[in-house]
Chain length 278, copies 2
């Protein structure tokens, strides 16, 4: 790489750090990359740190010593988080989302990578400081959110399938009760997918009674793995919370009554700001 001026180095380093969240990058990597002294690199990083942390875009952690370096932990600023959640609520309240049976069409929202990216950053922010080894979801609609979250955390995604596929090798299957309809379903996870004692963040697009997520919790039990947390994009309010199969989770949006006759949907912020996210 040709010798860059400080202004140019700052652009390149910002790009480099943003592409590798949660990765420990030794100062020597930058020193070699730019043919600069480590002291100059430290000054550059101090400027980047000031901007990132000043704007609430994330933390730049510096670890001293031979094994040291710098690590970027992305976060979403609180004001951006609340305006994003408000925007989500507004989009969900569009009356043409109501489908027969009172279901809500959400595929257009879930289909926008920029929205998923922000939602994933928000869930990653909510679990800041929690020790996590992997992000888990069950196919299909939670997948983009799980990848966005895992990308922000620098972690792999473990994908639970609805049935056992030949391309997954030997697998563990469990049955679970879907709370809303009390119907029995199966989910299955490749034996290779998860190491024992892993700490796993469960992510999904939608939760009502929590039966599907409860199924993933049980599946983790089968692998001797642990739940590090649960994050959902939308929780649907239930008549009696005691009926819910799961109580400890972070939600971005809470969906109230869907009045299919009057075509009114009410959505308001989930427990993101109320709960452990603080």
């Amino acid at each position: 790489m040709k010798k860059l001026k400080r202004s140019q180095r700052l652009v390149d380093m910002t790009h480099f750090l943003l592409e590798k969240p949660h990765e420990l990058l030794p100062l020597s990597l930058f020193a070699d990359r730019y043919g600069s002294a480590k002291s100059s690199i430290s000054e550059d990083l101090a400027i980047i740190k000031e901007v990132f942390e000043g704007e609430g875009m994330g933390e730049l952690q510096t670890l001293a010593g031979a094994a040291g370096g710098v690590k970027f932990i992305p976060r979403m600023p609180a004001d951006e988080a609340s305006s994003f959640i408000a925007e989500l609520c507004q989009m969900l309240e569009q009356s043409d989302r109501i489908l027969p049976g009172g279901y809500l069409y959400m595929s257009d929202l879930l289909g926008q990578p920029a929205i998923m990216e922000k939602a994933g950053k928000l869930i990653a922010t909510a679990f800041y400081g929690v020790e996590i080894d992997a992000v888990m979801t069950v196919e299909t609609k939670g997948i983009p959110l799980a990848y966005a979250t895992a990308g922000q955390l620098g972690l792999p995604v473990i994908l639970v399938r609805r049935d056992h596929k030949v391309t997954e090798g030997s697998a563990v299957s469990i049955n679970y009760v879907s709370g809303s309809h009390k119907s029995i379903h199966t989910m299955s996870l490749s034996r290779r997918a998860l190491r024992e004692k892993s700490k796993v963040l469960i992510v999904d697009d939608f939760m009502k009674m929590g039966g599907t997520i409860r199924g993933m919790v049980d599946l983790l039990g089968e692998f001797g793995a642990q739940v590090a947390g649960v994050g959902v994009l939308v929780e649907s309010e239930v008549a009696d919370v005691k009926d819910r199969l799961l109580h400890d989770y972070v939600s971005l949006v809470s969906l109230g009554e869907v009045d299919a006759r009057e075509r009114i949907i009410s959505a308001h912020p989930g427990n993101y700001f109320a709960g452990r996210a603080q």
Copy 2:
């Protein structure tokens, strides 16, 4: 936002541009954000442009006039592309991927957001300059690649389902022949998901005879939409290419013989560098 120095502005602007690929950002947005003159912003952008384009990280397009602004088009530098493809081949050649029936376990690769991010950037780079309105894939394993590609292109993802779900509203279903086994399957797409005359980039994780992708092409036909291109992570070589149901595509990796007895897999670069990607 408090007044920033040039060095600080460069960090913030780089972050801002990287988060919004393909979005036209007016200079006044930056001028307001930093309380700076447009002339200073133009100078900042010139520095960023020089670094981005010098390193092959993408293009910074400047559009003059009242409706003008700046737009970041991400690209992957050619040297990074070839080392990434070589790395993919190496990972795919690990003999413990072989499953009964000669299938290959790929879920660990597909489960790494950083790998999907790079693969998506590569496919986006391959279709640089092609007019595209949306990225389409069929559940399940192609989803992360489709989102990564669409994210780089600033486009929505259209997700085809294997069966018709209540949460999708009215849908169009078609039958298709899966080439490898000549078996009949169904795929289905919500009527709301796709506008007529849309130009669609089809993305998938794996292609052998091309039957699944052919199904998506047929589905596009049902919606009066057009194929803008096809990108796959891995193509599997076939004995006679004439049997393939699809000939115009971009692949990152080409999978040769899988010798289940000797436990040997051969993978080499796909047509990314050979074909239209140039």
